[in-house]
C-alpha cells in the first residue's frame, strides 16, 4: 500500500467515526420519543399520518404483532412495485416511452427493492420510467431501510425491557425513521450531489455530438446471428464511425442519496456510481462512500445509548471496523499488485506520479485503486451493493474480498438496522460459546441466553448460507444457470457464487459478467432475496420477544464483560470462523483457484 492509500483510508474512517456519536445520539432521541430539532416541522405531519392510518402511537405490540405488521407492509410493497413496473407504459413521466417491464424481471426487482437488496438484473436508463424510479424504487429505498432499522430498534427494546410483552410499535418506528432520519439526511445529501453535477430533472434523453468521433469494428452476422466468415475463414468485420451519443437524464440525485444512506445500493443508471451522472467528482465519491457506512455506524452508538452503556455499542463497532480495515487492506494490496500476466508482456504497472499502477481494469481513473477498493469493501460489508468499479475485473484475491464480506452475513456494518441486529445475534452466539467454555449459563446485557434464543440464533446464522449454496449448486448443474456466464472455469463459478451470495444476503452488488436478467435468475433470485430478508427478521424479532419477557440479572463475578477487547476478539473470531467454515470450500473452487492459475 502506498502512503496515499493509507492516508485516504484513514481519512475515510476518521470522518465516519467523528460523525458516529452525534448522529447516534440524535437517533436515540428519535426512538425514545424525545423532542428533536425537527419536531416543530415534522411533528404535525407525523401525527397526521397516525390519524390518517388509524395508528395508536402509544400502543405497544407483541413480537408476533410487530412481525406481522412488518410482513404485511412488505408484502404490499412487493405487489405495488411489481404492478407499477408492469403498467408503467400507461403512466405519466415516461419521456422515453418505455413499455412494461417483463414479468420475471418485475418480480425480481419488486422483491429486490422491498427487501433492501437492490439487486438489479435490468439497466435503469433502458428500462424504467421516471415515475417507476421515483414512486416504486425510491420509495422502497426509504421504507425498506426504515423497516430494517425498526426491526433493530425492536430488538434493542427486547434486550433492555424488564418483564414486558411488547417491543414497540412497528408503524411508529417506520414513520419516525423515515421522517426524522432518512428524509432530512437524504435531502441534504441530494442537494450536495446536485451541486456537484448529479442530474435531477424530468427531461427526455439528450442526443449530442461527440467531441471526438469514434471508429469501431464490429463483427458481421447473418440473419440467425452467427458470425459471417471471409475467404480465409476469419470473422468478417465492418467499420462504423460513431458521431453521436445519447445522454440519459432523470431524477437521479434523489435516488442516489437514499440508495447510499439507506444501504440500498440500486443505481439510477446501469453502472451505478461508476456513471458520471451519479458520481461526477471525487467530492461526490467521498460523500457517497461516507454515506454507505454512516447510519450503520451511528446505530451502534444508538444501541449503546438505548441499553444504557455506550461501551457496548463501541465494542460492536470496533469488531466491525477491524474486519473492514483488514478487508480494505487486502483488497488495496491485491489490486495494487496488478495482473502478473500483463506484467509478463512488459507493461509497467508500478504506481508512480504518472499512473495509479496495479490493476486498473474496470476502475475509473478518477477514483483509482484505493477509492475503488474501499468502496468495494464497504459496499459489500454494509449490504449496500452500489459500485464505483466493476468487481468482476478485480484480481482474483481483490474480488475475493467483497465476496467474503458478503458471505460473512452482512454484519460488517451491514444494512441499516439489519447489519447490527445480525451482529448482535453473533454476539449472543459468542457469549453462548464463552458460557460453554466455563460451564455457566450465558448472559448478554443482563439477559440469560437459553435454548430458545440459541435455536432462533441458529436459524438466523444458517439460513443465508443455505440459500447461497443451494441456489449456486442449482445454477451450476442446470443449463439455464450456466448459460448466463460470461466466462467458463473458476471465474465463471465465481460469477454465479457472487450472484447468489449477493441476493442470498440482501447485498445487491453484482460481479458483472453474468447475464442475470433471465427467467431462471430472476425467479430463483427473487425467492432467495425474500427468504434472506424476512426469515432472518422473524427469528430476530422472536428473540426480542423472548428477551423482553425476561428479568434483568445483575452482573456478577462470573458474568462475561461484553465491552472489553477480549469480547471484541471473541466476536470477530465467531464471525470469521462461521464465515470461513461455511464458504471456504466454495471460495477455493472460485477465486482461490483462479489466483493460483494466474500465477502459473
Amino acid at each position: 500500500m502506498t502512503a496515499n492509500d493509507v492516508l485516504q483510508t484513514l481519512l475515510y474512517l476518521a470522518v465516519i467515526l467523528a460523525l458516529t456519536k452525534p448522529l447516534g445520539v440524535y437517533m436515540a432521541h428519535v426512538y425514545e420519543g424525545e423532542r428533536t430539532l425537527l419536531d416543530p416541522v415534522l411533528g404535525p405531519l407525523e401525527r397526521f399520518l397516525y390519524r390518517a392510518a388509524g395508528v395508536r402511537a402509544d400502543e405497544g405490540m407483541t413480537w408476533k404483532t410487530y412481525t406481522l405488521a412488518m410482513l404485511a407492509f412488505n408484502a404490499l410493497s412487493v405487489v405495488v412495485v411489481y404492478v407499477m413496473q408492469r403498467v408503467q407504459g400507461w403512466l405519466p413521466l415516461n419521456p422515453q416511452q418505455f413499455g412494461a417491464v417483463s414479468a420475471d424481471s418485475a418480480f425480481n426487482t419488486a422483491t429486490s427493492f422491498a427487501t433492501n437488496t437492490n439487486w438489479q438484473g435490468y439497466g435503469g436508463e433502458m428500462t424504467m420510467s421516471y415515475l417507476t424510479q421515483m414512486l416504486a424504487l425510491t420509495v422502497q429505498n426509504f421504507v425498506s431501510a426504515a423497516a430494517g432499522i425498526a426491526t433493530l430498534i425492536a430488538f434493542i427494546r427486547g434486550l433492555r425491557a424488564k418483564h414486558s410483552k411488547t417491543i414497540g410499535n412497528f408503524w411508529v418506528d417506520l414513520v419516525r425513521t423515515t421522517l426524522y432520519i432518512l428524509l432530512p439526511m437524504s435531502l441534504v445529501l441530494a442537494l450536495l450531489l446536485v451541486s456537484q453535477g448529479v442530474v435531477q430533472n424530468f427531461s427526455a434523453y439528450k442526443t449530442v455530438s461527440l467531441l471526438q468521433p469514434t471508429t469501431a469494428s464490429t463483427p458481421v452476422k447473418d440473419a440467425e446471428g452467427n458470425p459471417v466468415l471471409d475467404e480465409q475463414g476469419q470473422p468478417k468485420t465492418e467499420t462504423s464511425t460513431v458521431t453521436e451519443q445519447t445522454l440519459p437524464m432523470g431524477p437521479a440525485a434523489a435516488q442516489v442519496a437514499i440508495k447510499q444512506l439507506g444501504t440500498n445500493g440500486g443505481g439510477f443508471f446501469n453502472v451505478n456510481s461508476a456513471h458520471p451522472f451519479e458520481n461526477p467528482t471525487p467530492w461526490t465519491n467521498f460523500l457517497e462512500m461516507i454515506s454507505i457506512l454512516l447510519i450503520s455506524s451511528a446505530l451502534c452508538y444508538t444501541f449503546g445509548k438505548m441499553v444504557g452503556d455506550t461501551r457496548q455499542g463501541w465494542a460492536v463497532l470496533a469488531a466491525m471496523m477491524i474486519i473492514l480495515v483488514i478487508g480494505v487492506g487486502v483488497a488495496v494490496w491485491a489490486e495494487q499488485q496488478g495482473n502478473p500476466r500483463i506484467d509478463a508482456l512488459g507493461v509497467d504497472s508500478r504506481a508512480s506520479a504518472l499512473q495509479a499502477g496495479g490493476n486498473m481494469e474496470g476502475k475509473d481513473v478518477r477514483f483509482g485503486i484505493v477509492n475503488s477498493a474501499i468502496w468495494a469493501t464497504a459496499t459489500t460489508g454494509a449490504s449496500n451493493g452500489s459500485v464505483n468499479a466493476m468487481h468482476d475485473s478485480f484480481t482474483p484475491l481483490g474480488g475475493l474480498v467483497p465476496l467474503f464480506m458478503i458471505q460473512l452475513g452482512e454484519v460488517i456494518y451491514g444494512g441499516v438496522g439489519s447489519g447490527l441486529y445480525g451482529m448482535l445475534i453473533f454476539a449472543i452466539v459468542a457469549v453462548f460459546v464463552a458460557g460453554l467454555m466455563v460451564g455457566r449459563t450465558p448472559e448478554y446485557l443482563g439477559k440469560k441466553i437459553e435454548a430458545y434464543e440459541m435455536k432462533m440464533a441458529s436459524l438466523v446464522i444458517l439460513i443465508p448460507p443455505l440459500i447461497v449454496l443451494v441456489c449456486t449448486a442449482i445454477a451450476c448443474v442446470t443449463e439455464a444457470g450456466l448459460a448466463s456466464r460470461a466466462n467458463t472455469g473458476p471465474h465463471g463459478f465465481s460469477e454465479i457464487l457472487y450472484a447468489f451470495s449477493s441476493m442470498g444476503n440482501n447485498n445487491g452488488s453484482a460481479f458483472a459478467g453474468l447475464n442475470a436478467n433471465t427467467p431462471f435468475y430472476n425467479l430463483l433470485g427473487g425467492v432467495a432475496m425474500l427468504f434472506a430478508r424476512y426469515w432472518l427478521a422473524i427469528p430476530t424479532l422472536a428473540i426480542a420477544g423472548s428477551l423482553a419477557q425476561k428479568k434483568l440479572v445483575p452482573a456478577g463475578p462470573g458474568t462475561l464483560p461484553t465491552h472489553t477487547p477480549l469480547f471484541v476478539t471473541l466476536l470477530i473470531g465467531v464471525v470469521l470462523i462461521v464465515g470461513a467454515l461455511t464458504f471456504l470450500p466454495a471460495l477455493a473452487l472460485g477465486p482461490v483457484v483462479e489466483h493460483l492459475l494466474l500465477q502459473t
Partner: protein, 37 residues
C-alpha cells in the same frame, strides 16, 4: 374486460404473484412455529 386481462396478464404474472403469496403465507407459518418452539 375478460379479454383485456387475458392479453395483459401472462402466466409469468400469475407465477410471480403466486410465489409472493406462497412466501408470505409460509412466513406467517414460521411465526407460528417460532412461537411454539
Amino acid at each position: 374486460m375478460g379479454r383485456f386481462f387475458q392479453e395483459a396478464v401472462s402466466m409469468m404474472d400469475i407465477l410471480s404473484l403466486g410465489l409472493t403469496v406462497v412466501f408470505f403465507a409460509l412466513s406467517v407459518g414460521l411465526i407460528a412455529l417460532c412461537d411454539r418452539l
